[in-house]
Point group: C2
Chain length 682, copies 2
């Protein structure tokens, strides 16, 4: 093998680096100012990430066609024999050793090309090691935990089965497309089945950002929110691990693209090993942080507390990467654990500080990635836009999402107490945007022809979904929701409101069964709770046994050990463990012995988010008919929309007060049923 070495001269490399980074900082500043303008003027048709992409595009066009900095190359050719490009070169210039590190491959035809374009190209690993971790951690840290855990089964089903189904479905469709292209001689390079599967994996990662931002503003149902958010957060992790398992698929022998059972099993093993390893690491560091904050009185020094929290969360990422697991996945589960346990041990100031810190980091990283995406469309050196592949990919992505959501929802509805309505499913279908994770996975490896084609196509998919699905659809939906919210709750329109027929599902949630039961008993609305309904509930109880077991274990043992909340261990552990229990229980816990307040249940919720959604229940505690929600709740006295607001606020308040009754509907429904029995038998 021949090696040619060319020396590039930069007199002021550092200065140029600063100037390049400055471009992005300026882009972000511009984005922030425009976002402010949009929010100020209440334009909602474009999300901030979509905006960042547009600015990125503009700067990309300018750099591509406006600026030309030729590269200063002085050719010095040397020859020697090595069989790979190593990560580090040691160059000996007159007995002084200089170390060089590999920055990446440069396409042969691009070497003499525009210097500026090359300079605004970041090392793809920057995304995985610097920008993604805070985004993913923030997602985990801000998961609404109660609703997340209540819907855990469905979320896990969507995240694991759904992503795998979507990945293979898209992979197969794309393989069909690629075969067709080969037949029509549209391909200029190789494209294997594993490439198709890889493409399926990377475009299966959905992004919660855009839609959730709008959900937040609209205050839609918490369960829908939890489902969507949980799914998109977890499926990022699944897609990431899935894609690396597909890359790990390497059959023995010369032809590395045949099917081989052993290699496939190995890939499957990699998937399981990496995922569970990352999961375990994330949870362990989260628990360690909780223990540290539990046993020290660090809360007296907020700066130390925040710093420790930050460092421990970061070390999760580094530890996972150092062990060969996936840092981003570990960080996700670390975030969830921190929110579930550590957060309760922090001082109120640190709770605010950590939330704000990661909110800021998330905001900056996210907008950076999206503006970089826009930039990349014009500055990336080796785009391969193949119209047929692009059309095929768009269809495949659409169908893949459908093949994920609809069949799974059908199956889940067989077991779910509160059904996922069809309108929910449409919503989830459209909310499946592709974002930062998809982009980061696609740009990570653009060495082969197939990967380059994938990258270019992925970019277009992200643009389309963020602008059209994220902007247009949700804008439309938000308008409709707003109209419908105004109409459905107006008593004079009542039962005959045509809009309610279509949009009722958003409001007509029967998910808080225990709460319903309580309302039913409290406000003498027992007529709305039929015997059949109660029977249905008690049979469905078993389906949530996993959640119940988990909840009991968590509430009785983990919470008391790791946090200052929950019942004292002396009450939950068997008497034989008395001394141990006393040792492990914090003094605060004994004060909680009376009526339990599950003080973590709403802490992560931002203000006012649950207003409307919980308010709905008092309004539409509909258990029998599908569309008779409002009149049956008329007893609540919601005569005008003003009264309704009060009612909503009251419902919200009540919810916080009632504590565990709501958190654990399965446990509570037993007594409420017995309470109800006389009423119904009467």
């Amino acid at each position: 093998l021949d090696i040619t070495i060319r020396f590039l001269k930069y007199f002021n490399r550092h200065r140029q680096d600063s100037a390049d980074l400055l471009i992005f900082i300026m882009l972000l500043t511009l984005t922030i100012l425009t976002i402010w303008l949009f929010k100020h003027r209440r334009f909602r048709f474009l999300h901030e990430t979509g905006l960042a992409m547009i600015y990125g595009l503009i700067v990309g066009v300018i750099l591509r066609y406006g600026v030309h900095v030729p590269r200063d190359v002085s050719n010095v050719t040397m020859s020697c024999h090595v069989n790979a490009s190593p990560a580090t070169l040691l160059v000996n210039v007159s007995n002084r050793f200089y170390e060089y590190t590999l920055k990446g491959e440069i396409r042969g035809d691009d070497v003499q090309d525009n210097e500026m374009l090359r300079k605004v190209t970041f090392d793809p690993e920057v995304f995985f090691n610097i920008l993604l971790p805070p985004i993913i951690f923030h997602a985990g840290y801000s998961l609404k935990r109660r609703h997340f855990f209540r819907n855990m089964g469905s979320i896990l089903a969507y995240a694991f089965m759904g992503t795998v189904v979507s990945c293979f479905f898209i992979g197969l469709l794309m393989y069909g497309c690629v075969v067709l292209m080969k037949y029509l001689q549209q391909l200029d390079g190789e494209f294997f089945f594993t490439d198709c599967l890889f493409f399926g994996a990377i475009v299966s990662a959905t992004d919660p950002v855009t839609v959730l931002a709008i959900f937040n503003e609209l205050q839609v149902d918490v369960d829908l929110y939890a489902l969507l958010f949980g799914e998109s957060v977890l499926n990022d992790a699944v897609a990431l691990v899935l894609s690396s398992s597909i890359v790990a698929y390497q059959p023995e022998g010369d032809n590395s693209h045949t099917f081989e059972v052993m290699a496939m099993l190995k890939s499957f093993g990699v998937f399981l090993g990496v995922f569970s390893g990352s999961f375990a690491l994330g949870v362990v560091t989260g628990v360690v942080t909780a223990l540290i904050s539990f046993f020290t009185k660090l809360r007296d020094f907020q700066l130390l507390e925040t710093a420790l929290f930050f460092l421990m969360s970061w070390s999760t990422f580094l530890l996972a990467e150092a062990c060969g697991f996936t840092g981003v996945v570990a960080v996700l589960f670390c975030g969830i654990t921190q929110a579930h346990y550590t957060f309760n041990n922090l001082s109120p100031e640190s709770q605010d500080r950590t939330k704000q810190l990661f909110e800021l980091l998330n905001f900056l990283a996210e907008n950076f990635i999206f503006s970089y995406m826009g930039l990349t469309l014009f500055t990336f050196h080796s785009h391969v836009f193949n119209p047929m592949f692009i059309v095929g990919a768009f269809i495949a992505v659409f169908l893949g999402r459908a093949a994920n959501i609809y069949p799974l929802s059908f199956l889940l509805n067989l077991g779910r107490r509160n059904k996922i309505r069809s309108n929910f499913q449409h919503m989830m279908m459209f909310a499946g945007l592709r974002g930062a994770m998809t982009f980061a996975l696609a740009i990570r490896d653009t060495a082969t022809y197939a990967r380059q084609m994938m990258f270019s196509t992925t970019l277009l998919i992200v643009f389309f979904t963020v602008w059209v699905c994220g902007g247009g659809t949700t804008q439309m939906l938000s308008c409709q929701l707003a109209i419908c919210a105004r109409w459905t709750f107006r008593p004079e329109v009542g039962r005959f409101n045509p809009l309610r027929f279509f949009f009722n599902d958003y409001f007509d949630m029967t998910h808080l069964t225990a709460h319903e039961a309580v309302v039913g008993v409290d406000s003498d609305q027992d007529n709305s709770v039929s015997v059949a309904e109660i029977k249905r509930r008690s049979t469905k109880q078993e389906s949530a046994w996993l959640f119940r077991i988990w909840y009991n274990f968590d509430h009785n043992y983990l919470k008391p050990i790791l946090t200052h909340s929950g019942p004292p261990l002396t009450a939950t552990l068997p008497p034989c463990c008395g001394p141990l229990a006393r040792f492990l229980t914090s003094p605060q816990a004994f004060e909680n012995e009376g009526p339990l307040k599950d003080d973590d249940s709403d802490l992560i919720l931002t203000d006012g988010e649950i207003n409307l959604s919980y308010g709905d229940i008092t309004v539409s505690t509909d258990a029998t008919g599908a569309h008779s929600a409002f009149p049956s709740a008329g007893g609540a006295g919601a005569a005008t929309s003003d009264d309704l607001d009060k009612e909503l606020a009251y419902g919200d308040h009540e919810l916080v007060m009632r504590g565990t009754r709501l958190v654990l509907p399965m446990d509570d429904s037993e007594p409420s049923i017995t309470e109800l029995q006389p009423h119904i038998r009467m």
Copy 2:
């Protein structure tokens, strides 16, 4: 020139990088936990940075003697001719171009050395581009502005003249030492006069961290605090620019170490240009941020506001670096400007957020640098410890600091109304720790023998000053202060308390002349204000004309234009500029028209910092005798120490209420003198 290329094989470079970074994260975590323990148990003999260094040392020892990872080197030798080591290599391996970037020089004898040691060595530029900026920005952002501006003249004198004096003084002493060493044949390499000057520049940068942390706890006098803090913050900037000007000194001709007037003038020009350029850039971006936050209603969206603030401050650094100025210096002045103007426009939440954010970044960066220092003592590959040079350097540093503080204080005292007492001067002398900036400057270039010797010596100086001066001395002082505070204020001990004789100066401050005057009039203590004193005051007024002009301009024009505080421009601008004034004045400003509240004066102060210091004035309004402070204030009714506490709290409260009377003593002293005249003439 021959070039040998060796290929180093790393199979999992990224994994190892993560593991290396993890070491530091763990170190920081450990430091935080120990700091907590120290604070919890009220150990004060060691500051957190000193602690971080100790942990760094321990890990350094382990890495040096415990772990040995041999480097896997496969030699491939190639030859060709170039005349320098370029920043970027392009390597062509079978028509694929790989880009390599220069990481740094490796000492020839170290190439086969312990891999682990090499890996925990960071690129020195990391300090300048990542770790120092947040530290310096935070210092600027938390400068106590009123006291800073009031003592601006003295601070600038110490920072500029003092640092230059110290630099040349140390440089000359070290040159003497080096000449002696040459004579005794103790030198193994070249050591020029410019090297000595460079050494003088880097060890002239004092670190505010340690001492100020203790000052904060002890709540010493605000003026002393402002002097010390302002000096150490600014002299970092001066030393940095000074050292780069010394490096820029390159006489023409073959012998590059002779004296040449032109080269020296050029160096001086570089100093002025770089410093003023960085200063201007920092102020301009600060003002731009203030204007943006003034004209937009960004304060409704705290996340956007904080993000913008962060990005603008960061862009200052990048802009300065891209323009060839010094980013760290620009960031310092940007921080001061942000604190002075932008801070007033931020929403209260963002004020907290930005303060907390930079506090956290500062904490992490600082402790990282100090633990890295500890580590470096054992892991750095080419230490040169020369006992004679080290002893010489310690003496020179001590004398240099003395040559800076004492003569300058004497000169300043000639012009200062409130003298810098000799105890203050001793305090400033001992508080001159060397820290992050000195280390970063020393490690930036360790290519030559002289620089390596400097670096090793600098490390020892930092260790000594942080541990001994930062730990022991301040611990001792704090004890003495505590004792003395208890004794001096006990009336039964009164005038004959021997401790007061030594430590009176800390409490016996006559710096708030206007306040004294006010107190004198209010509480009929006119006997304590002599005619001579008043005359002295009115003559000293002129010496602060610079401050007065600046204050008036700032208060009347800049504040109203850039912030929502201050008087409306319509009141301060001449009538002809009416329309312009109305356009530029914010609606809020008109509400301020009544009694002016200078609402930025205390915002940066942390709670309770000014208690003791201001309280002192009501106690020791001593203007005639030197040690008769307490009895003359007896009329204030401070009979017991409990009463005194109340008095102090009242004094503090009063101070905030009185607003501008205190902020601008020169303006206020005029009417107070006329008010006093009748009293005195009577």
